[in-house]
Amino acid sequence: MRYLVLIKQVPLSSNVAIDEKTGTIKRESGEAKMNPYDLYALETALRLRETYEGVVSVLTMGPPQAGSVVRESFMMGADEGFLLTDRAFAGSDVLATSYALSQAIKHIGNIDLVICGKQTTDGDTAQVGAECSEFLNIPCISNVQRIIDVTETAITAECDTGTTVETVRVHLPALMSVEKDIWQPRLPSFKLMCATAQRPVKTLNLKDLADTDERHYGLKGSPTQVVRMFPPEEKSDYEIWNEENLGERLYQYLVSEKFLQESV
């Protein structure tokens, strides 16, 4: 079994400020980390390898310094890592990113299961995984909260759709995105850091891909037009209750909102 985890480098702080004039992200420092949601995807791959054996590879797309998240994945136990980098990819939107990644996945070849985090902490679209699966023409299961079984030909998993939990079986190869907390991600190991210090991060450029037409990547390949970037308004709906029998009212409210069920 060969697992490929898609990972991304994001700013260290989750409290990213946006410059409303330029519409760009204000980065307080150059410090970066692996997207926290991707840690769950990587942990999932490592757990599957423990149970079903196989090889865990990771793939990231970004500038050369993004290679550090590949190295970090080695410290968590990944076997092999790829960095997809090329000036031609600069400015890619979700579609162009997904296309570039799918081209890289095809180049790497022989992947049974692509695993993604649910979203990133900087882009927050939660679309790249699903779009990749379309370009690869493989089934996609999202919001996986538990993996029930993996065989040579199929994976069965539980997906949290918000209102229901679906048990889904899909044929391999497939792509899945996992929920936060599917497993607690392990911490990077100092021993593995030393042991993998010489392991190469394999670099892929545009010329390595089957489609080398620059117009399909980067700004040119991105139909999305960013008109304006702004921090979303904070939701601050609240009610103030100031009366007798607050407990009863709170109880009735929780029942009406279906947080509690009235005992029969």
Partner: protein, 465 residues
């Protein structure tokens, strides 16, 4: 009885001293919370609860109490673990919770002046918007700073930064006769006579009531990274500590934990710990001005740990990873509490090289006396927290086994050069052990000091000495 019992006349007079009489609460109207602290086995109700909001009110109430021989028990949030804030003899409980203003951030002298009822977490939040940092880091963040000062609270960063006493520049104190004095000042050095400020710190409200504190700040370290270091057993973990403390950069914190406590925290929090495969762990933090500095420090510590038998050194370098280990560490006390029906604690401090010996000794006691124990603590400063758990023992059996275990543990601690309390204080619960462990002339000196401050024994009577 040497104390006057409060009557209606006293209540009327007390109400006249307080700007809002609603802040004088009498007998059955006093909430049950005020009859105990986190040492739940000691319960005693005050006759009157006064919620002061100014130093003048505190002084007026204490002065009135002194004139009429009424005992006064000062109290913050009541998060103490040794019965320090319980009114053993009734009388007045003086709550300082409502004196909770942050008064001044002096950027030039790098001090923060606060009222005693400000919570430790509020200080942290306030300073998070500034370049400044208050280093003491006791686990109970909802404690008041007044309580922290009264017990000389320690916490996890004591290895590098020291304890509360190291961060108090000045105190305004109401003495047992109601007089207000200022001890210390915004000075970085002080060699002017006896350091009464330092005597008040750790005196658990028996010598005076702190109504204002000027705290020393430092500039905030820009980066903190932690290592979770697994070992096969606690012996190996603890034996690595002296070498870790000799590293070129002193770590901020060196905590030890055993799997059973980690698992209890996981259950309590309902989430997994990042590693549960080993019997014992050290959690080591390092801070500094930038990532490179901290990485170099931790690289050295990781190599030292591996040389001393560590299985690995796991790196918690992002906010999420730090949170995954430190949240669990922060809930150990609550998690242990939730795992049993009642618990008592032993907060001994022993020389750092004797920690493993002491913990192993406590495991033997567990078997000999049939009492479940759980422990964790500060490997970097030798301060252990060993909790005795009642589970389903009946009252008589619980006390019998507890007394036997306590006697054995405190004797052992003293035998190997330790002290009765590292950071929780003596209060009511540890008094006999303090008396047994100190020289009689030392105890006599302590009593003389108490008498010099409080000849009528009105302020928090029945505590420490």
């Amino acid at each position: 009885m040497k104390y006057h019992t409060i009557d209606e006349h006293d209540i009327t007079r007390l109400k006249a001293l307080i700007s809002d009489p609603d802040r004088v609460i009498v007998r059955e109207k006093i909430h049950e919370d005020y009859t105990h602290d986190e040492l739940h086995s000691l319960v005693s109700s005050p006759d009157v609860l006064v919620e002061a909001i100014t130093t003048e009110e505190v002084a007026a109430v204490v002065h009135y109490a002194a004139e009429h021989s009424i005992p006064v028990t000062p109290r913050g949030q009541g998060t103490g673990l040794v019965g320090g804030a319980v009114s053993l003899h009734g009388g007045i409980m003086l709550s300082l919770q409502k004196m909770n203003r942050i008064l001044e951030l002096d950027e030039k002298n790098m001090t923060l002046t606060v009222e005693p009822g400000v919570l430790l977490m509020e200080i942290g939040e306030y300073l998070s918007e500034t370049p400044f940092f208050y280093p003491p880091d006791p686990g109970e963040k909802s404690a008041t700073i007044g309580g922290n000062i009264s017990t000389n609270a320690g916490g996890m960063r004591a290895v590098k930064y020291g304890v509360t006493r190291d961060y108090v520049r000045a105190l305004q104190v109401v003495l047992p006769d109601g007089e207000v004095v200022v001890l210390g000042g915004k000075v970085a050095k002080n060699s002017s006579g006896y350091s009464l400020k330092d005597l008040i710190i750790g005196s658990e409200g028996t010598l005076g009531i702190v109504t204002k504190a000027t705290l020393k700040l430092i500039t905030r370290p820009a980066v903190t990274v932690s290592l979770l270091i697994p070992f096969e057993n606690l012996d190996k973990a603890i034996s690595a500590v002296p070498a870790i403390l000799r590293a070129k950069q002193l770590p901020t914190a060196v905590e030890f934990m055993q799997r059973e406590v980690v698992m209890a925290a996981s259950t309590y929090l309902g989430r997994q710990f990042p590693d549960t495969g080993s019997d014992a762990y050290l959690l080591v933090s390092s801070d500094g001005p930038n990532r490179k500095f901290v990485d170099e420090a931790l690289d050295e510590i990781a190599r030292i740990a591996l040389d001393h038998g560590a299985i690995d050194a796991l790196i918690a370098d992002t906010p999420e990873r730090q949170e995954s280990v430190w949240t669990a560490r922060g809930t150990f006390l609550e998690a242990i509490k939730a795992s049993t029906t009642m618990m008592e604690e032993c907060d001994v401090v022993v020389p750092r090289d004797r920690i493993a010996e002491f913990i192993n000794f406590s495991h033997e006691l567990e078997k000999i006396h049939g009492l479940r124990l759980m422990s964790f603590g500060h490997a970097g400063d030798g301060n252990l927290h060993i909790y005795e758990l009642r589970d389903d023992l009946d009252e008589a059996e619980w006390h019998k086994r507890l007394d036997a275990v306590f006697d054995a543990m405190y004797n052992k601690a003293i035998e190997i050069g330790g002290k009765v309390s590292g950071e929780h204080g003596i209060g009511y619960a540890k008094r006999p052990f303090l008396t047994d462990s100190e020289q009689s002339s030392t105890m006599a000196l302590m009593r003389s000091i108490k008498h010099a401050f409080d000849p009528k024994d009105l302020l928090n009577p029945g505590k420490i000495v």
